[in-house]
Structure formats: C-alpha cells, structure tokens
Amino acid sequence: MIDKSCASVEEAVAAISDGDTVMIGGFGEAGSPIELIHALIDQGARDLVVINNNTGNGRVGLAALIAAGRVRRMICSFPRGTTDTLFPELYRAGKIELELVPQGTLAERIRAGGAGIPAFYTATAAGTTLAEGKETRDFDGRCYVMERGLTADYALVKAEKADRFGNAVYNKAARNFGPIMCMAARTAIIQVGEIVADGAIDPEHVITPGIFVQHVVAVDEPALESELIAQGASYP
C-alpha cells in the first residue's frame, strides 16, 4: 500500500545531505514550511543551495537556516526582508553566494525543471544587467534571454491537506511556489495541517498530484512566522 506519510519532520528531512539543492516554498509567511526548515537546521546538513523567492525574516525559518551558516548559495528574486539585514551582511562579507533571478523567471525555471524542459526563452530581463552573460536570441523581432530549468534534490513545501498518495491542496495565496517546487525536486516533502483519508480530496480539486510528492508529514499547529518574530523568537 502506498503511504507517503512520515511520523515526524525529523524523519522527513533525515536524508538531506551536505551540498544538496533545496527548494523551499512560501512567499512571505504564506506557505513557509517553518517546521521542516527547523528540522533541517537540527538535522545539520550544510553547504546547501537554497531556492526561495526571498531570504526569510527575523531569526526563524529560512532566515534561521541562513543565520546558522548552512546555506552556501541562495537562488532568489528578492534577498531582503523589510527590516532585515542578515542576508545583506553575509553577502557583503562574502559568506553567502547569490544568484538573483527575476521572480517570474524563477517560477518558470522551477516549472521547467519539473516538466523536463532544460531551457526556454523569456523576454524578461532582456537588455538588463541580469541578462549579462546569458544567451539572447531574437524571435519574431523581439529579444529573448535563454534561461535554464531548475531542479533540486529536495523541496520543502507547506500545504493545507494531503492524502497518503501525496495529493495536496493549499490554502489561498500559500499555494505560491509549492506546486512547482514539488514538480522540480527529486524528493518533495510537504508538511500539512492534516493527512486526510482516501477520497477526502475531490480528484477535481487536487492541486499537487501525488506523483510529485515523496513524503508527507502532519504538523497540526504550524507556527506562524509573524508571531514568532513578534515574540522575538530565534531558532534554534
């Protein structure tokens, strides 16, 4: 019988290795898989390449992973929080690498990676410094930049509910990068508020089909990044 559920977040992230590429879902605190990230901090893997739209906030979740020195390289579109100086300081000190990617190109590169597309062309960033060093090409008189698909060893994603097959649904704008990161990672791990019974998710409503998911772990009462930050929390 197929059962992708794990007993704990610790078990779910146990096999992540030094040097792995890890996609982490979420946009702001919506969809941020804080418990999985904290389990990854505890687990100890380092030298990670992390793909997320941002670089986290406060000293919890992704920001805590970065603060713990576990991230060698960030691939993101906006490496700044509203008030946060963590990433800029590490970056200026040469302690972390940055690959800056326009947000839509980042999303499409992840989707391409998941869909077996090694490269595609986009008009985004054509004629800008972010296209420097990249191939460009004209199609029908317009200049496009060639961008490569992105894949990952792992994806850490937060969804609302999933079944034992890994079929998942999300909550509003917390959907964001989750579905495409599950597609693009060899091992996609989703934390969900509830693992539901067979048939509880209507096949018409499935957002991430289970084929894209390898592990599901229930986190009944996930922490909220903004609340942790308001409390001055710092992980570990």
């Binding site: 702001g28 008009a123 800008t128 495409i180």
Partner: protein, 235 residues
C-alpha cells in the same frame, strides 16, 4: 508607504498629492481591465477607479480578483499580496501557483501594470530596481517580468527625487528594469506619454508651466497639441 507618510510628503511637494497622482492614473483604467499595481503609490490607484468600472486585480503571488485590505482583525495570513500585505477577495477571485501567475504576466494577459520608478528615459526605458551602487545587494522581485509582459506599463512617480534631481532622462543611468517598456508616466507635475520621438507632455498639473516642466525634465519635452491641465479632485 503608509497613507500618513503620503499625505505628509504631499504637503511639501508642488502639483498633485500622491493620492491625486493615483487618482489620475485610475481614470485611465478601463472597465473590465486586468491590472497589476506595484507597491507604494500604485497600490493607491485601486481606490480611485471611477464608479461603474469593474477591474480585476492581479498579484504576483497568485491571486486574481482581490480587494482592499480587510478590517483590522479580519486579516488572513494566507491572503496577502505581493507586498505581503493583507488583502480581501472580491467575487470571481481565483488562486493559482507562481508559474501560472507569471504566465499571466509574461503571456501578455495583464492589461495594465502600474509601477514606481527611479528613472524613466524618453525611449520608454525604465529603471526601478537598483541604483547600481557598489556594495548594494541587488533585489528585483517581479518588476522585470511585469514590464516585459504587461500589455501596458505605466509609471507613477514624483517628477523629481527627494533631493530635487530629475527622474525623467534622455537615458537612464541606473540599471534598467526593461527597455522601451513604459507608455505613460504620471508625476505630481504632469502626465507624459512616451511617443515615437520621446516624451510627449499630455497634461500639466494646475499652476505648472511648460517652461517649468522643461526645466525639471532632463530630456526634450514635446508638447501635445491638445495638452491640457489635469483636473483632479482635492485628495
């Protein structure tokens, strides 16, 4: 920026207040348009779209058909816009993932995108993501996608920087967000189109002369034959 900031700053600036700039931009949004509004003054545009026009707002993080911020206490942490601020839903809303969201942008499905600017050039080049300063940590977000993909890219910006320097140039000196993308600029002093031959002055703020605008614009200004004075309500 909060409304408090806005009105405070507005009192120190000539021409239109920030709310009036947003109001003016809102008049150009047609019924049924799909619109993406950038963070800052552009966000204020939604409040001023004329009665009777139904507009569907898109936010990059995966929501179509959102409405104004909910009342205090009714915010949902999973219902935010690209500026990570709480939003509400209007009838006909939908959620989708980030690749689909940017497919809407890149694929030319967004009718109008309104953004802020650091610099705009007379050929429509836009710089609004980086000053290119040594040691700055670059951050771009979705700006390059929006300007490359939206059917119409419009800019709302003060005509001058806070130091009194121009923001409209023959060429941008800051790193570009996109080349030849801007079609119209709303400033506190004027409404300016990007025409075949450069900046075309369409409307002047009340009390602002063409000569003043020429002085405050670092590029030639073609005055449209039908150039008028902007008529805005007190805001």
């Amino acid at each position: 920026m909060s409304r408090a900031d806005t009105s405070q700053a507005a009192t120190q600036r000539p021409g239109l207040s920030r709310a009036q700039m947003a109001w003016r931009a809102a008049q150009d949004i047609l019924d049924g348009a799909y619109v993406n509004l950038g963070i800052g003054i552009p966000e204020m545009v939604a409040a001023f779209v004329p009665e009777g026009r139904e507009v569907v707002y898109h936010t990059e993080n995966g929501v179509l058909g959102f409405g104004p911020p909910p009342e205090a206490g009714a915010e949902l942490r999973e219902l935010i816009n690209a500026g990570k601020k709480p939003i509400s839903l209007k009838p006909g809303a939908s959620f989708f993932h980030h690749a689909d969201s940017f497919a809407m942008i890149r694929g030319g499905h967004i009718d109008v995108c309104i953004l802020g600017a650091m610099q705009v050039a007379q050929n429509g080049d836009l710089a609004n993501w980086s000053t290119g300063a040594e040691g700055a940590v670059p951050a771009v977000g979705g700006a390059m996608d929006l300007v490359a993909g939206a059917k119409a890219v419009r800019v709302i910006t003060d005509h001058l920087t806070s130091k009194g320097e121009p923001k409209l140039f023959e060429r941008c000196s800051f790193p570009l967000t996109g080349r030849g993308v801007v079609e119209r600029v709303y400033t506190n002093l004027a409404v300016i189109d990007i025409g075949e031959d450069g900046f075309v002055l369409r409307e002047r703020a009340p009390g602002i002369s063409v000569d003043q605008l020429r002085e405050l614009t670092a590029a030639p200004l073609i005055v449209a034959e039908d150039c008028t004075t902007i008529v805005v309500p007190a805001l």
